[in-house]
């Protein structure tokens, strides 16, 4: 599905706006092997995620996101950073630090630079519980 890259390697910037609970645009077209700089702006009133992955990866990730909600890390319109850093007892915390994803509070702008691999079925999605199911995801189309 590709890998994280440096901003200098990207030829193209795609701005993705987060709203409650949908993205604009709702689908993105890339070329196989292309490096894209995504500028993601949370224009909604709630916490949202931008996550690149397959539908299956999103499904798995949704389980950990559910835990973050259950443990009070994601609190609707803000993130409890103290809870997020907290050691869960087995050396794990609920940090959200995968290279293919950003978790954002309202008003935040973040970037992901991604070099796509070959054409596969990819989606960008918000895995905050319920958001994906409400329709907050879009297809990555390969040219």
């Amino acid at each position: 599905m590709g890998e994280a890259a440096k901003a200098s390697e990207s030829a193209r910037t795609i701005t993705v706006e987060m709203h409650d609970n949908y993205y604009e645009p709702e689908s993105i077209t890339v070329k196989p092997g292309e490096t894209v700089r995504f500028v993601i702006e949370n224009k909604g009133a709630l916490v949202h995620e931008f996550n690149l992955g397959t539908a299956q990866m999103h499904e798995t990730h949704q389980r950990s996101m559910q835990m973050m909600v259950d443990h009070g890390v994601i609190r609707g319109d803000h993130i409890d950073h103290r809870m997020m850093e907290m050691d869960m007892g087995d050396g794990h915390s609920m940090k959200h630090d995968a290279p293919n994803a950003v978790l954002m509070e309202p008003g935040e702008t973040k970037e992901i630079v991604w070099r796509f691999g070959g054409a596969t079925d990819l989606e960008f999605a918000c895995n905050v519980p319920g958001h994906y199911q409400a329709g907050m995801y879009g297809d990555i189309e390969f040219e």
């Binding site: 409650d20 609970n21 709630l46 559910q66 519980p129």
Partner: protein, 565 residues
């Protein structure tokens, strides 16, 4: 030039047409066929349920209602925000619609979502006079779907409303066929010991209360969109589609626990208002509530919509299928729940029991009476991740027999999960609190608020511009869906401005639930338990909102007076 004027005129006319709809509804005698029985009833435009009214936010609607009955009628637009003269409550908003008369309702649509309409006269609603309202929003919704269905439930009974009321008044347990029997006594003795079982029966017997007192009116057939379980209402879909189901509980008396085995439901709307989406396996639909859920069906399979009544005395069933005629398994009804001492706590706190009687009883539920711990509610589902022990739903008494559990062990929607998606009101401190004790005498089938029945009660007077905090204290052993007309009920789930907006607040036995209301609608409104026979037995109030947007109201003066209902 001429041409552009014409175009402008046409455009103007077109937009007028879009923003002003006219609708005709006739109120008719109809036959209702549930599959189990055929019953004469009342419907709209020749059928029960009536048509689905589709409005658009911002539209000015004109609805001509023609009464073809030989008795008075009315239509109440349940959950709609409108001028009080249009609210359709006889004796409060207007005199009612006489036989043969056509009454024209006219009001702007200022909201979007799923609602319903029903007669507010006598027992016409239980007799079939109800229909659905779907309002398209002006803007984009915070969710998307490919297809939508209204799923309107009711508890159709072979007896007419008048007869049911009379039977309940004559004998409150007339319809209760889930009472504990000699057989139950012996099987419970085998499980818990003879002495413990006897002691339990003695305790309830001394109070003259029944653990099985959950559904007053049994013997109904659950209908989905007018179809009984055998008639199997079916909604078609294409595999891969996301389907929005607009659940409406138009029952007279019955709460439904709803699931679609094999599918997770994402709740996106409660009582017509968008909520932050919640994934659930099952939810409880109180009488007169609505929930919109989205399901995503990937495969070419049929799925059963299974709605068990809360007391498990009946069910409604429908199917989502890729092809007409395809069905899925229909689950068995689960064991009927029984009330516990926790559910009785509210009654005992104010009842006539002495201290001796109280000794040795589980006071678990009494903690609710002293108010919920709102700070804990944000973490209401803290332990969910560990999977083993589901958290106690804070909207049920601790140890309540009614606390819902998902049939697959998964997630059951709680009021505590509901958060407004986009709050309508800024949060502010309430100007005063009004305590409403939900009271009754089951044996006599008398229901009241603060111990006073509607016919003996003064109206509750509110001042325009206030934000009133209502404190519901349920001192009965029944669950009451409290419905305020004309203004939103902001359910306190301890989340400030994110508290969800509802039009029905369900209050479980022995619990205290708070709601706040921005008093922004002048006039006279109804406020009542939406269980038809509870409302008719006296659990009803008139609310008078004094003042209006043009009046200067000294709200602080009102606050000083305090709130006696």
């Amino acid at each position: 030039m001429k041409r552009s004027i014409l175009t402008a005129l046409l455009a103007g006319f077109a937009s007028l047409a879009v923003n002003a709809g006219e609708y005709n509804i006739s109120v008719d005698r109809v036959q209702i066929d549930t599959g189990d029985f055929v019953k004469e009833g009342i419907g709209y435009n020749g059928a029960s349920p009536g048509p689905i009214l589709r409005f658009r936010e911002g539209e000015e609607v004109t609805i001509n209602v023609t009464n073809n009955l030989d008795e008075m009628t009315s239509i109440h637009w349940h959950g709609l925000i409108l001028p009080f003269e249009q609210d359709g409550v006889p004796g409060i908003s207007f005199p009612g619609i006489r036989p043969g008369e056509t009454f024209t309702y006219q009001f702007p649509i200022v909201q979007a979502g799923t609602y319903w309409f029903h007669s507010h006269s006598g027992f016409q609603e239980p007799n079939g006079a109800y229909g659905a309202i779907v309002i398209e929003p002006e803007g984009r919704e915070p969710f998307r779907y490919d297809r939508e269905y209204v799923v309107q439930l009711t508890d159709k009974h072979p007896h007419s409303g008048d007869r049911i009321m009379r039977n309940l008044k004559t004998s409150a347990d007339y319809y209760n066929r889930q009472q504990q029997t000699v057989g139950d006594f012996f099987s419970e003795s085998a499980r818990n010991g003879f002495v413990a079982t006897l002691r339990d029966r003695m305790m309830w017997g001394e109070m003259r209360m029944m653990k099985a007192d959950i559904e007053d009116v049994q013997g109904f057939t659950g209908l989905i969109n007018g179809k009984g379980p055998e008639q199997n209402w079916t909604g078609l879909f294409e595999p891969g589609e996301r389907i929005r189901l607009r659940f409406i509980n138009s029952s007279a008396m019955t709460y439904f626990d709803i699931r679609i085995p094999g599918l997770t439901m994402t709740v996106v709307q409660a009582d017509g208002n968008n909520v932050q989406p919640v994934n659930v396996d099952e939810f409880r639909l109180g009488v007169a509530e609505t929930y919109d859920v989205i399901v995503h069906i990937r495969d070419e399979e049929a799925y059963t919509i299974f709605a068990e009544s809360m007391g498990r005395s009946g069910f409604a069933r429908g199917t989502l299928a890729p092809k007409e005629g395809m069905t899925a398994d229909v689950p068995e009804l689960r064991e009927p729940p029984l009330l516990t001492m926790a559910d009785m706590a509210g009654h005992m706190d104010h009842g006539d029991m002495n201290d001796d009687d109280m000794a040795g009883m589980d006071h678990g539920g009494a903690a609710m009476g002293s108010g919920m711990d709102h700070s804990a509610m944000g973490h209401g589902n803290m332990d969910q991740g560990s999977g083993s022990s589901l958290p106690q739903d804070p909207f049920y008494a601790q140890g309540s027999g009614l606390t819902p559990v998902a049939s697959n062990g998964g997630r059951f929607l709680s009021y505590a999960d509901l958060r407004a998606q986009n709050p309508l009101y800024e949060y502010r401190e309430p100007t005063r609190e009004i305590e409403l004790r939900l009271t009754g005498n089951m044996e006599r089938y008398e229901w009241s608020i603060n111990g006073i029945k509607y016919e003996d009660a003064d109206p509750i007077v509110l001042q325009y511009g206030e934000r009133v905090r209502f404190k519901f204290v349920n001192e009965t052993m029944m669950t009451h869906p409290m419905h305020l007309h004309g203004m939103w009920s902001i359910l306190d789930v301890g989340e400030g401005k994110w508290n969800p907006l509802k039009h029905v607040i369900s209050v479980a036995p022995a619990t205290t639930v708070y709601m706040e209301t921005e008093v922004d609608a002048p006039g006279e409104w109804a406020f009542h338990c939406h269980l038809s026979y509870h409302a008719a037995a006296g659990m009803f109030r008139k609310i008078v909102v004094e003042g209006g947007p043009d009046d200067q109201v000294d709200v602080s003066a009102v606050a000083r007076e305090g709130g006696d209902a």
